[in-house]
Every structure is written in C-alpha cells, then in structure tokens.
Symmetry: C2
C-alpha cells in the first residue's frame, strides 16, 4: 500500500497497527511529557478535550506553555501556565489548540519563530481546530497532509497553499503531525493518539471511563467541506 493511501485511510485498525515502538518505550522509563500551548481567546474544548483523554493514560505529565502566567479562554475561565515561551521544552507531544485568538497570532512573527523551534524538539505535534493555522503560517506543515476546522476552512487553507489540506477528515495523522478538525474533533483525535501510543484497549478504557462516544473513524467527518 502506498504511503498516501495509508494516510488517507486512517482507520482504527491501521491506527493500532501504527503503534510506535519509540514512543511506547517512553512510558517505561519516565512520564510521557505533554506540552500544550495556550493564548488569550484559545477555544476551551480544543485544549481540555485532549487533556481529558490523554491525561487518563498512566504516567503522563501535562504542562501548559504560554507568553504570560495567566491566560483567558474565549469562554472566560482562566488557566495558569507552567512554562514560558521564552524558551523551548523537549516533549513527547506538543498540543496546539485553536480559537479566535489565532486570528491575531498568525501575524506574530516572534511566536512563529518559537513554534518552529518548539516543533523541532517535539516528538509528535497535535493541532486542534485552527491551531493548524499557526503551524501552517509558520511553514511547519508544508508538504504535510493535514486538516483543520471546517467552519474556518477557507481562512486557514488560504494561509498556506503548500499544505496538502484534506477537506474530509475528522483528523489526519501524517507521521510527526496529527491535525484535527474543529473543536470536538480534537477529543476524538486524542483517543486516536492514545490508541496509537498505547493500543486500542487503553483508548477504549478511557472512552468508557469518561462515558464518551468515540468517533474512532478519521473518515467519518460530518462537517466535511465538499
């Protein structure tokens, strides 16, 4: 099977077949290090859906990184950052949520530079919703199969034509880069990541624990852009 077909298929069966021995090994020695970017007017569920699912794996540390100590979500509640964007932090997973705040941030050259450096020390990068706009604008997704929020599809895809944007995908996994569709798609993609990293049994355990209904098929995208 060609690599492109493999990526396009994106079924759970394939996901579990793709468990990475390197990433899996990280769980034996030290906690899985997860870093999530936050900025004012980030979208609440973009961040906290994945945090919920990934945070239920054993031996995981999730930290927030941002330009200041307190960050306000679009919906109002505020989070505290653990790490500053003054430096970069090697991690197993780097999460980039979206939200209204990305509209301004795509013009922030300092952030673009930091993003490129942070991605270079991250084992895997996971964007949710318009988080992909930040990565795309920084040139990080050039030549990569990726998706984004379908409600903001024209805006995001217009920022970087060199990305192989996928109009029909709940999420797209292309090696180092996992990009999800809008808001709640991030929660489904997070369980895909769990299954990829630690197997489907673990993903199903967390689905049950959170009384969730996991849309586990990347091709099942009810909001696809036709």
């Amino acid at each position: 099977m060609k690599r492109r077909d493999f990526l396009a298929a994106g079924t759970l069966a394939m996901a579990t077949a793709m468990v990475s021995p390197q990433l899996f090994a990280a769980t034996k020695d030290k906690p899985l290090q997860v870093l999530a970017l936050v900025f004012d007017d980030y979208e609440t569920l973009d961040l906290h859906g994945p945090v919920e699912m990934i945070g239920h794996m054993k031996n995981v540390q999730i930290k927030l990184v941002g330009a200041k100590s307190i960050i306000r979500s679009y919906q109002g509640p505020k989070v505290v950052t653990d790490i500053s964007t003054d430096s970069v932090t090697p991690c197993d997973l780097f999460i980039v949520p979206g939200g209204l705040g990305t509209r301004k941030l795509v013009e922030d050259e300092e952030l673009m530079t930091w993003l490129r450096k942070q991605v270079s020390v991250s084992e895997k990068v996971f964007s949710i919703c318009t988080g992909s706009a930040l990565l795309a604008r920084a040139g990080i997704l050039d030549g990569i199969n990726a998706t984004t929020n379908k409600m903001a599809y024209q805006w995001v895809t217009g920022l970087a034509r060199q990305v192989n944007w996928q109009p029909r995908a709940r999420w797209v996994d292309d090696g180092k880069f996992l990009t999800s569709s809008g808001v709640s798609a991030g929660t489904d993609a997070a369980l895909f990541y769990v299954s990829q990293l630690r197997g489907e049994v673990e993903a199903r355990r967390i689905e049950r624990l959170t009384e969730y209904h996991w849309n586990h098929d990347a091709k099942n995208d009810p909001y696809a852009v036709s």
Copy 2:
C-alpha cells in the same frame, strides 16, 4: 401528563417546550451569570465541556469559584478562580463538576454548608458526573429525580438514599436541578440547558460551531446501570 412521566421522558421536544420565561428574560437585560465550582482533582471535561457549550451563547459571563486562587485538575493543568467560597454569589446557573476530588470533599462539612447557601441563591443548579455526590451528601437532592456517573454509581447513590436516583439517563432535568451522567455526558446536558434556555436553534448552532455530535436524547444512555 403526570409530572413524573414528563420528567422521565426527557426528550428534546419536551426540553424546548420547557423554555423558562424567567430565565429567558435574563438574556435581555444583563449577561447570564454562570458560576462553576472548582476544587483540586476536579475532572477536566466535567467543567470544560459545559463551559465550551454554554460559553458560546451570547451575553454570558462564566466565573469560577473555589476555596483558593489556583486549582489543579486531576489531569494536571491549573485554573484560576474568580470568586472565593468565603461568600455566596447569586447566579442564573451554578455548575458543580465531579472528579476524584469529590471523594474527600463529601466529608467537608464547611463545603456542605456553603453548597446549601450557594444553591439557595442559584436559579438553576447543574451537576456533572460525581458533582451530584456533593449535592446529594449536602441533602440538596432529597426527593429529587437525579443521576450521576455510572462508573461510580454504587458509591454516589449510597451517600444519599433519599434521592430518586435514575440508573438509565444521560441526564435528568427536575426543575431547578439538572444532573448529568459521567464526564462527557455533561457536554450533552449543557446543550440541553442551552436549548431549554434559548431554544433548539441556538443549541444546534453551537453543536455545528463546535463540530460536535450531540447526544440530544436524555434516555439514550450507553452506560446505564441495569
């Protein structure tokens, strides 16, 4: 139709028929005041799922209330409280999430006293997951139709036998009290609240905006206790 049958039915059609003129009026004059309790080891999605959905309505203010200024979720990331539990705050909606932290908190008599007072100045009270354990233990749900996390059903229901616990319900709406099943059920119940308050069109707008798949039938409970 008898009141009990009406409550047991819990369909969307009924939900929209139940739009409260009082609550609806609140949107015309001042922002809808939403207050959410947070405590260490609260469950991330219990809080942030509802915050996501409710926070997309127009003219809403969501504030966090807690015993200290910084609160750590079970999954790690920290939030900042806006208001202290030293006093009570009149509000339109009071949200009580669950999580591992409730296991200790059910023994906290000071919190129980505060909860009773806070509920008395709240127009509507919405618990998610084991958040209902706190309300039940405080005697607030006595005689009320309610539900809770199905993974912790024996523990929660054992705390207060005077509650009319419902073993099969994604959520239960009983007048002032809306109680949801575990974790992700809170997100579905939050959209029910939106539909009750501002109509189904608004709930469907937010569902689409967040690329969500709303389980809009309270009777559709895949994790029911048989």
